[in-house]
Amino acid sequence: MSIEIRNIRKNFGSFSALNDVTLDVPSGELVALLGPSGCGKTTLLRIIAGLESPDSGSIHFHGTDATSQQVRERQVGFVFQHYALFRHMTVFENVAFGLRVRPKETRPSDAEIKRRVHELLELVQLDWLADRYPPQLSGGQRQRIALARALAVEPKVLLLDEPFGALDAKVRKELRRWLRRLHDELHITSIFVTHDQEEALEVADRVVVINKGQIEQIGSPQEVYDHPVSPFVYQFLGNVNQFKSHIHEGLADIGGIGIKLDVHHDTQNSPALAYVRPHDIEIHKARTGDAPAFEAIVSYVHAIGPLVRLELQRADQTELIEAELTQERFRELGINQGEHVFVYPRNVRVFLDNPPLVAKQAT
């Protein structure tokens, strides 16, 4: 079942949580809503579920307007951030709840309920916990029970609010792979909210980056990581070096070196910001070729793990540049703290700096 979100707005008092959000989620996809806390992603999820109502805009499930539908009628499965398991019920009763509260005509028989619950518990591999109470479970187990409970009502859409937020790092990794596999098995349209870019990039078919109540970018994990459309997305997805820059007729100036751009050919002397990922910083002990480079001093070396992290200080500035290279390359270079090196930035992305007041004055 596809979900169409049209021009959703939501204010809490004077705070604008969602500002004209439009989004299509194709049937069967696993979509991540990614953004910093307070960006409106959870509000959007709750609006889709019907737990909040939008100030304006509409929600459609497979083309049918569901905006005025009650939560109960929407047939969504919702996994709460802190699971919201019913404390006083066993795991079995938690999962059975959605079936037991159905009106008599559509309620399955006790035997059928029992069969379905055990089927779901097997699906989440926790059948042996059926008689336990939620407080007796670990975080990861609770998470999976919450998922089984949501699936029990055969939802057309599965919504997960920070599904791995409350778990420790190791369980978190395990569970997100498991969720991915589960989704591939069930093919139920799913949306999950997260503030962890690694999680979104690893699990989702499609990532929706949200900032300050607006969608910044929609795309596959590869697209949003390799081609961020805004400085925000660039900074939010992984580590990045930021340089103050100027653009003049298709040429960006970064600390004295010029970098040719494919765009901005008509731009006249505008302030801009340039971004380079740490692994796109190439280091040489001596100047090689005529590629643009600047000099720097290695101010710190952190060489634990597969990657070596260097902090570089440009000779002319106080700004620190972060670079990442493999152990192999690091040994090959044989550099030490305090040494002079040449820095070759690759894959530089340059964005005009807002507000473009200065640019306007120049024209």
Partner: protein, 298 residues
């Protein structure tokens, strides 16, 4: 504003291991314990013991005779009737008020909470007086009542009303903080899973607050059965008709029939002790649940 101050379910019994730096010399400890026990003996234990000794002073037969006296029996019956009506009424109110206050945001909420507390701040005598002003012979609706041959003041309805008033906030004050602390995640989960409002209330909310509810009911019941001032104003002290147990104690006492007075009083004191035991059991149960939770979390 009264008992709720006490009932945050903290487990007061956990032993705190203290280092030498943060405890007092042993002689100071025992001095403080002795003073405390002396104070509590003078004000609590000795009076409590006195009730039972005075009740049995003239022998067990006199004691039983005083209890099976028709007026005494009728006062026991009336006390139970008043409690049996007042407790459910305030229970329903408490659940409704806690639902509105704990699960929703609205303007004037803190004023509402303060207003619910009002009966705690009002002298029981005044609680009785206000119903006399409304339902009494000279009252607002007094003449209408006479026309329809209805009696509220100096009759059972007045006693029930006064009892409802003095026990009004107990359940609500117990449930509001509890339900606020539990948030509304579980209720929302129930809603998403297709439960109706009543199903959520019966299957999720109430089971979650059952101990707090029970605690509130115990306190309400104790106060309802023991209320004196408010009931005294509206009852008219008609023997065998409008006397509750505490009023019957007063009448016997004022007639210098001390043994009988203390005999009836001893029943009320037993009731108080049962209340304390139940209350402690609920507190221990809640503390145990809490420490079970802690164990699994840690």
């Amino acid at each position: 504003m009264t008992i709720n101050a006490t009932s945050q379910y903290s487990n007061y019994h956990t032993k705190v291991a203290r280092s030498r730096a943060t405890s007092e010399p042993i002689w100071i400890r025992w001095l403080l314990i002795t003073i405390t026990l002396l104070f509590l003996s003078l004000f609590l234990i000795v009076p409590l013991a006195a009730v039972f000794t005075e009740a049995l002073r003239k022998g067990f037969d006199t004691y039983i005779t005083a209890l099976v006296d028709p007026d005494a029996l009728s006062s026991i019956k009336l006390t139970f009737i008043a409690a049996a009506i007042a407790v459910p009424l305030n229970l329903v109110f408490g659940v409704a008020a806690a639902w509105a206050i704990a699960k929703f945001e609205f303007k004037g909420k803190s004023i509402l909470i303060t207003l619910i507390d009002l009966p705690f701040a009002v002298s029981p005598v005044i609680a009785g007086l206000i119903y006399v002003l409304i339902f009494g012979l000279q009252g607002w609706v007094g003449s209408t009542l006479i026309d329809h041959d209805l009696k509220v003041i100096f009759a059972i309805p007045g006693i029930v009303l006064a009892t409802v008033f003095v026990t009004f906030p107990f359940v609500a004050r117990e449930l509001i903080p509890l339900m606020q602390a539990q948030g509304k995640d579980e209720e929302e989960a129930g809603l998403v899973l297709g439960a109706s409002g009543w199903q959520i209330l019966w299957r999720i909310t109430l089971p979650n607050v059952k101990w707090g509810l029970l605690y509130g009911v115990i306190l309400t019941n104790a106060r309802a059965m023991g209320e004196f001032g408010a009931v005294s104003v509206v009852s008219g002290h008609i023997r065998g008709m409008t006397n509750t147990m505490p009023l019957h104690v007063e009448i016997l006492y004022n007639e210098y029939n001390y043994a009988a007075a203390f005999a009836v009083a001893s029943l009320l004191a037993l009731l108080a002790l049962v209340t304390l035991v139940l209350k402690s059991l609920v507190e221990w149960q809640v503390a145990r649940n809490a420490s079970n939770l802690e164990k699994t979390f840690s």
